[in-house]
């Protein structure tokens, strides 16, 4: 097993290192044009604003979720995970239906005789990033709140703390520890934004580095320029990922014995504010989803012809990359849990520092001298999607693999339960739940991916997200909405099937 794990870890490392090497070699130095510098500036600006707004809005939402108990609270927390699984292009169409030129909001503003708002450019990019990352930021901060032992709040109550005192002595120290990590995480995610900038940005004033890479490959046919941009993107992404990693540490509040105690929630006007915050957050997150459902349903019955082959390609790509993701993640996590091969952690986490467009550009550079890249669009998409899901899958599986090793590693070794027998009789049954969840996540992420496929695909290699984007760009709104609904349905169905399968198989 050790040799196999080493080989697979080495291959995963090579699959990231080779494209990065190709990019660095082809770029041949950093010479940025004024347009490139503008893209760099815009990338940093939009990521910083997105991080600040997401985290700023997440604090009151997380506080309300932490201290209030109401029917549907658990459901609301679950639904807040949905934007992570939602294909980005679908989220954008949903936001356009609410905030776009002919959307609900502007229709209302126009009816009231007020000026309409534009959803394109910086504000649109930030709006979409907040929509996509508010749930993640809320969850991170909510964990911080829940990590404050209930005993501290009990002590605070017994000392007669006012809400302001509690904030000063309990909540503010927690936020100081949690917020930088949450903000850095959202910042790192938004740095690699491609689909959002493709639809809502563009032009000299709202182009991200990822979008500039895409334009250099697809429209300028200037691979050297693309490689130079990819190099900048990699340096930026690497630094941001390292910063997020260093900052996102868990808050230390000492041991708490009992977390079942309900937090003493202040009443009065604060209760009203918490209710309003939750209602607004739920409306902001759910309205675009509802809009997609409403506008997509009529188009579902008469989808354009190119949709069905694209759906088959998308599902096939998602299935293969999901299975590869969990296979590789499991092998690496098992090796790590057994205390062997500390470096596999690097192989599993390194993709976080890259992006779909960077890896895609590198692979494009590698294959282009030998075959037309279009031919390899789907295999390359499978590989890149696998690499980009690998860190999440590894992180999900590792703690469970470590617990399995701690609980049953010695017993299995004492009985000579090794190799395939161990996989079949111990690892798969005991880890079915996290494996199913990780596979579902990887499948949904792959279904929704609109990055590397845009770089490689011609007319006949398009996946569903690309078809949605092309239909929307051609103003075929009804067909785009119907296809988007199909895409969401397939993504969630794949996630559900893997997750439920894992739960059922769990012993």
């Amino acid at each position: 097993m050790a040799g196999g794990a080493g080989t697979i870890g080495g291959l995963a490392l090579l699959l990231v290192a080779a494209p990065l090497g190709a990019v660095a070699w082809r770029a041949g130095g950093l010479a940025l044009s004024p347009a490139d510098l503008a893209a760099l500036r815009f990338t940093l600006l939009q990521a910083a604003l997105s991080a600040l707004v997401s985290v700023g809005l997440a604090v009151p939402v997380a506080r309300a979720l932490a201290r209030r108990r109401f029917p549907g609270r658990a459901l609301l927390i679950t639904v807040m995970g949905a934007p992570f699984l939602l294909p980005v292009i679908v989220a954008i169409l949903g936001l356009l239906a609410i905030f776009g030129r002919g959307g609900v909001l502007n229709t209302a503003l126009a009816a009231a005789g007020l000026p309409v708002l534009s959803v394109y450019g910086l504000q649109g990019v930030v709006l979409a990033h907040v929509f996509l990352n508010l749930p993640l930021a809320t969850r991170m901060i909510l964990q911080g709140w829940q990590a404050i032992p209930a005993e501290r709040f009990r002590l605070a109550a017994s000392l007669g703390f006012t809400p302001a005192d509690s904030f000063r002595h309990l909540e503010r120290p927690m936020l100081i520890q949690i917020l930088p990590g949450a903000a850095a995480t959202v910042f790192a995610i938004c740095l690699t934004s491609f689909a959002v900038a493709l639809v809502l940005g563009g032009g000299p004033r709202a182009t991200t580095l990822e979008l500039a890479i895409y334009q250099a490959v697809r429209f300028e046919f200037d691979l050297r320029h693309a490689a130079g941009l990819a190099l900048v993107q990699t340096a930026l992404g690497g630094l941001a990922t390292l910063a997020a990693w260093a900052l996102a540490r868990r808050a230390g509040f000492g041991a708490g014995l009992d977390r079942a105690l309900p937090l003493a929630a202040p009443g009065g006007w604060r209760q009203g504010v918490d209710g309003a915050v939750l209602a607004l957050a739920a409306a902001f997150l759910l309205a675009p989803l509802a809009a997609i459902l409403a506008s997509g349903a009529p188009g579902l019955l008469q989808l354009p012809d190119q949709v069905w082959p694209a759906a088959v390609r998308s599902v096939a790509v998602a299935l293969v990359s999901a299975l590869m993701t969990v296979g590789v993640a499991l092998v690496l996590a098992e090796a790590r849990a057994a205390g062997r091969l500390g470096w596999v952690e690097l192989a599993a986490m390194l993709p976080l520092a890259t992006s779909g467009l960077v890896l895609g550009t590198g692979l494009f550079l590698i294959v282009q001298p030998f075959v037309p890249p279009m031919i390899l669009a789907l295999p390359v998409t499978v590989l890149v999607n696998m690499l980009l899901s690998l860190p999440f899958a590894y992180r999900l599986i590792l703690p469970e693999a470590q617990a399995l090793q701690a609980d049953y590693g010695r017993l299995a070794a004492a009985l000579g339960l090794v190799g395939l027998a161990r996989l079949r009789l111990l690892t798969l049954p005991r880890l079915a739940r996290p494996l199913g969840f990780a596979a579902g996540l990887a499948a949904a992420l792959s279904m929704g991916d609109l990055g590397v496929i845009a770089l490689f695909a011609g007319e006949r290699e398009a996946t569903l997200p690309l078809v949605v984007q092309r239909l929307a760009a051609a103003y075929r709104n009804e067909a785009a909405a119907g296809t988007a609904l199909l895409l969401v349905g397939l993504s969630f169905a794949l996630f559900w099937a893997f997750d439920a399968g894992g739960r059922r198989a769990a012993a």
Partner: protein, 239 residues
């Protein structure tokens, strides 16, 4: 049933972090040896080294003159029962026993019959289809012992697997251990905190204290002599 030395600890030194333990002695075939001493003295660590979970710093562990160092735990001529987690919770009792015959569980009809017979011998007949969670603590201990019977390895290591059981049940289990050891002709090494256990079924005792596992001697002799480390551990109440 004493024979020639089978297990030999040859200038053995084991270490874990700052902790060190040395041992240099041998055990005759068929002996039943109690490892006794204060908690943290290294009794379980010594068993872990013999079982193959911890490589010695220096010295050798020999079975019938053969160095065990190259063998992984499952290939060593021994069975081991841990303090807990001796059964896989997601497998049935019969499957847990079957692992003792074939770790890939592709059992022949004959092997299935042997599993059933082993269950019957430890008083668990008819419970093979259950999961461990559906058994009592005593029944789980019996199931683990039934697997020891099936494996029929010549050395049996017990790391206090009955510590969580009540006194009467524990006495039953020790009697069953003695019976299993006698039936398979196995040499027994068992960790214990309790001098009563050592006297009940063991004919040799090893004092593990102050970084040393002393050579085995008859329990009566050890308790009569009461070396200072043992006296400290047992305290004044024990006579």
């Amino acid at each position: 049933m004493r024979g020639d030395a089978v297990l030999q600890l040859d200038h053995l030194v084991i270490a874990q972090d700052a902790f060190r333990l040395s041992a240099d002695w041998q055990v005759p075939a068929g002996a039943r040896v109690a490892l006794i001493g204060p908690s943290g003295a290294g009794k379980s660590t010594l068993l872990a080294a013999i079982a193959g979970f911890l490589a010695p710093v220096s010295g050798r562990i020999l079975w019938q003159g053969r160095d065990l160092a190259p063998l992984p735990p499952g290939a060593r001529p021994l069975s081991v029962l841990f303090q807990d987690q001796n059964l896989f919770p997601h497998l049935t009792v019969a499957q847990n026993l079957g692992l003792g015959l074939r770790p890939d569980l592709r059992l022949s009809p004959d092997e299935r019959a042997r599993v059933a017979a082993a269950l019957e011998r430890v008083g668990l007949d008819g419970l093979g289809a259950r999961r461990p969670a559906e058994l009592s603590g005593g029944q789980m201990a019996r199931a683990a012992l039934a697997r020891v019977l099936l494996r029929a390895r010549p050395l049996l290591l017990l790391d206090e697997p009955f510590a969580a059981l009540g006194p009467a049940l524990k006495a039953d289990m020790l009697a069953l251990v003695a019976e299993v050891a006698a039936r398979t002709g196995a040499t027994l090494l068992m960790v214990t905190h309790d001098p009563t256990d050592a006297r009940a079924i063991c004919d040799l005792a090893v004092l593990v204290a102050e970084g040393r596992a002393e050579p085995p001697r008859p329990p009566t002799a050890l308790f009569a002599e009461r070396p200072p480390a043992l006296a400290d551990y047992l305290g004044p109440a024990m006579q």
